[in-house]
Structures are given as C-alpha cells and as structure tokens.
C-alpha cells in the first residue's frame, strides 16, 4: 500500500463516485415516492400485471414480487440499484489498470520505486473506498425514502439490512471480475463498453433464466446470487450461492495479482 497512489486514485475517482451516488439516491427516492400510489391500488396493479406476457413478468421477477408490500416494492427498486451498481463496479474494475496503459502513464507509475503489489493494492483500496461511499449513500437514501413514503406500513428491518448489505459484496464481484478480464485481454482501449457489457450481461443472464428454465449458468451471476426476491421471500441469503459469489471474487482477485505481477507493460506503439 502506498499512500500517495491511494490519495491520487481516490481524488481522480471522486467525481465519478459523486455522480453515481447522486443518480442512485435520485433513483431510490423517485421510485419510493410512487410507492403510496402502488400500494393504494394494489388490486388494480395485480390485474394489470396479470395481462403482461408471462415471459415479461418472469424477466422482471414480477411474479415473485408483491409490489403492494413495502419490501416487495423496495426489492423491485433495488433490482435497478443493483444494475447501476454492477455497471459502476465493472467500470472501475476494467479501468483500474487498463486506463494507465491506454494513456501510457503506466511507464510513469511503474518506473517509480514502488512494487506492482503496492500499485495494485493502493488502486484497489481507492476503488473500494469509492464503492463504500456509494453504498453509504444508498443506505442513507434508502432509509430516508422509506421513512418518507412508508406511511403506516411496517416492514422487516432485518430483511432490509440484508438487501442493503449485499450491495458492497455484489460490487466487489464486478470490480474483481472486471479487473481480471482487463488483464486477460490484450488491451482495453475504452472502458465503458466493457463495463456496460459485464454489468448488463450479468443482469440479462439472470433475467433470462427466469424465462428459460434449467440453466446452470445463471448461478454464476450476482443478480442470481443476491436475488432480491429470494432475500425478501426468505428473509435470508441463499448461502451456497453467496459463497459461490465470494469464491469467484477471491479467485478473480488472486488471478489479477498474479497476472499483474507477471505482466509486460505494453510500450508505445
């Protein structure tokens, strides 16, 4: 860990963290502000949803969500929060090391008296700090939105905490998987398409698994591992899948360190 790299990385990332956080806070408050209307006309809502094609309901998990209850509605909101978080964390993961190489600053950084382990650790910690800040904003705006719009309804606090807490573990997955992919491909020139691809790809894999049954691949996506409907229905995580998630994250991190230590930094061509 090298304090100056950490400080610099965090400084560079701050603007992006603020934008993502603001967007997420807005999303949560906006969605929850519609909740009283939904809850008030639950019967009408159910009737309308029943007319949607079954595949579509499955894709958005609408069959398993009860939008008339606070947590049901919140979990629907949280699915979109997850999608944003996935894209944010993937972007950070893909960019962590590849931006230096694309902008040819890797030569600058790695000719300094720091080891690659120090470089990678400092950058990772800075990115994780950014993600933690984002999660804090999500926590605060969730509690704020719920207290503003819940009306007289009660909800299970523990389940809400489980949902919120899943955010950071969920993001660490995308951060480390994005990073290991960026080290496996020859050169990442632009981070955004990769980040969007990984985030959306993982979401679609989970969404389509609702439509097409019996796919094992879906177990690999964090959208399944932290399936909001499962958490709300059971008031608990699907532990084997959570361990799978953590396992993939750890393997991706370890592989990233190994690959980075053995990497030939591409020269100006």
């Amino acid at each position: 860990m090298s304090a100056n790299i950490y400080r610099y990385e965090l400084h560079v990332r701050l603007k992006s963290v603020l934008i993502w956080s603001a967007a997420l806070a807005f999303l949560i408050l906006f969605f929850l502000s519609l909740f009283p209307a939904f809850a008030g006309q639950a019967a009408l809502m159910d009737e309308m949803l029943a007319r949607f094609p079954a595949e579509m309901r499955a894709a958005f998990n609408l069959d398993k969500m009860d939008l008339a209850t606070l947590l049901g509605y919140f979990s629907f909101t949280f699915l979109f929060v997850q999608l944003c978080m996935a894209i944010q964390a993937s972007n950070y993961g893909f960019g962590l090391l590849s931006i230096e190489e694309a902008e040819l600053t890797a030569d600058f950084l790695l000719s300094k008296p720091v080891s690659r382990i120090q470089v990678l650790t400092s950058k990772l910690l800075a990115a994780v700090t950014g993600l933690v800040l984002t999660n804090l904003v999500v926590w605060v705006s969730s509690f704020l939105a719920i207290s503003l719009f819940k009306g007289e309804r009660e909800y299970e606090l523990q389940t809400l905490l489980l949902l919120l807490f899943s955010g950071i573990i969920f993001q660490l997955f995308f951060l480390s998987v994005g990073m290991v992919i960026s080290l496996l491909v020859r050169r990442v020139r632009n981070v955004t398409p990769y980040g969007l691809g990984l985030g959306f790809g993982a979401y679609l894999l989970s969404a389509f698994s609702g439509v097409i049954k019996d796919i094992v691949l879906e177990l690999l996506t964090p959208f399944k591992q932290f399936d909001v409907t499962y958490i709300v229905a059971h008031g608990a995580y699907d532990m084997p899948l959570v361990w799978l998630n953590v396992g993939i994250t750890v393997v991706a991190l370890a592989a990233s360190y190994w690959l980075y230590l053995h990497r030939d930094i591409p020269a100006v061509s």
Binding site: E103, D107, F108, S111, P113, V114, S115, D264, I265, A267
Partner: protein, 290 residues
C-alpha cells in the same frame, strides 16, 4: 564493478524478437550511448532494466542488484525519461511533478523549481494543452527532480528545438559531472557523438559493437578528399581504400591502415586541395548496417 551489468539478456514477445543475448556493462560516472535504428531493441532493453517487462532469458543488475527481484529498491535511485511522454488527464504540470516527487523520500521542491526554470517550463499549465516539446520538458524535470544516480534517457531530444537541446545536454553534462551515470539511447548519432564516452551499437536485437567513441572513430576509417587540376583521373587502388567516389576532379574515399601510404601517394600528385578527417559516427555506423 559496473553500475549496470547486462548479461545475455533476451526478450521475445511471443515469437517476435525483442532482443537476443545482449551483454554489456556501464561504469559508474560514464555516459553510455546506445544506438541503433528504430525497432532494434533499444526501448526493449531499457524497459527490461526498469522491469516494466520481464526477460525471457539472461539477467541484468543495477547497483549489483537483480532488476527483476529488487525493482523498487533500484528504482529509488533511477531517473527515467520515456521516449513518448503522456501524463494524467487534466493534471497541471505542478501537480504531476509533485505527484512524482511524492514517490521519493525528502523534499525536492527547490530542485523542481530550479529545473523547471532551466528548461523554461511553465508550472501552472495543463499538461494536455502542452506541445510535444513542452511535454518532453515535463518528462525531463520529472526524471531528474529526485537527483537519481543513474539516468535512463530513451530518445530524449525528439521534439526539443536546438536551443533546448543544448540546454538539455548541458543539464546532462552537469549531472554527469556530479557523478551521475547516464544511459542514453538514440538513433541520432551526432548527439551521441557530442555527449557519450562509450557506445553500444544494437541492430536487429543484437549488440554488434561496444567501444570507446574515440577508438571507434580513430581505429577505424579516415575520410580522404583530394582535388587535382589534372585531367587524368586520380587512381587510388591500394589496400585499405574503400567507397571511392570521383567527380569533377575530386576524389572521396575511406581509408583504413597506415595513413603514410596515402601521404606518399599524394606527394606524387599535383593537388589543389586535400582534406583528411575522421568520419562522423554516422558514416561509421553505415558500415555496421551494411
């Protein structure tokens, strides 16, 4: 013991050749020129020494320490000026220099300002707005501000105007006078000739010659030019004569051997003008390229 010791260093990028079996040593306090055409392996060698890339075979030591295992320790005392300088988006010159200085123990503010003044570098400009030559200056200040004892310069003068080049050379000479060892890679031979004590010539990934710059010039060829007003073509067909060119009564050729034999031949002629000079490194160099 040499400050930089390279033995049988080899690097392949997959199947593509980087360098093969490169061996040389650089002594403390010398300016070592590393010359060769583009793609010969100059940057590959420097990047190996900085452990930006990893060798396929052989080894290299700086200060007696292996570059692959003691990288961070070695780099504390190394300054590096890459051939192409790009720096962090949106940073001002001063921010980058401070960031760079923060990697080295001690306070380098004074030296940073002194260097920036010498190189006429404006500290408050954004790096993105700078011209290529000015970015190069940022690279120079950044490479020197922590007073390293070994300097790696990879084609350092590209983009600098002649006046700045001279200032830069003076700066390097000053550093060298303080005992700094300089590893200077270039394909422009005249600048190597101006600055270096010894040169290594690299071609297609292999070292073809390492020698003192003076021996390279002296023990090699003389460039002879003879003008006569006689109409008969002047004939110099003697051992040691090469590259004969004749035009308008003037003959140019290269000669290697005892110069007295040429003088004897000349004394028999009626000449209007004679010059015998040392060839430029460029001309010697062509010899290695053929």
């Amino acid at each position: 013991m040499s400050i930089i010791e390279v033995s049988q260093l080899t690097k392949y990028y997959g199947k593509a050749r980087g360098i093969v079996d490169v061996s040389f040593g650089v002594e403390k306090g010398e300016i070592f020129g590393f010359i060769g055409p583009n793609g010969a392996g100059k940057s590959t060698t420097i990047r190996l020494l900085l452990s930006l890339i990893h060798p396929t075979g052989g080894k290299a030591t700086i200060f007696g320490k292996d570059v692959t295992t003691h990288g961070p320790e070695i780099r504390r005392d190394i300054g590096y000026l890459p051939s192409e300088v790009y720096y962090y988006e949106g940073m001002r010159v001063i921010d980058l220099l401070k960031y760079s200085a923060s990697f080295y123990p001690g306070d380098h503010t004074q030296r940073m300002h002194a260097l920036a003044e010498t190189m006429e570098l404006e500290l408050n400009r954004r790096i993105n707005d700078l011209s290529y030559g000015n970015k190069k200056k940022v690279g120079i200040v950044q490479g020197l501000l922590h007073s390293p004892s070994v300097l790696f310069l990879d084609e350092p003068t590209a983009g600098l105007d002649p006046l700045m080049q001279r200032k830069f050379f003076n700066l390097i000479r000053e550093e060298n006078a303080r005992g700094v060892t300089v590893f200077f890679s270039s394909h422009i031979l005249s600048e190597v000739q101006r600055l270096c004590n010894r040169v290594g010539i690299i071609r297609e990934g292999r070292i073809v010659e390492i020698s003192d710059i003076r021996t390279l010039q002296q023990n090699n060829y003389k460039k002879v030019r003879v003008s006569t007003d006689s109409t008969a073509p002047v004939v110099f067909d003697m051992p040691g004569v090469t590259h004969v060119q004749a035009e308008n009564g003037t003959v140019h050729f290269f000669f290697k051997g005892d110069i007295n034999t040429v003088l004897q031949r000349l004394s028999a002629l009626r000449v209007t003008d004679v010059s015998i000079e040392e060839p430029t490194l460029e001309e010697i160099f062509m010899h290695y390229y053929e």
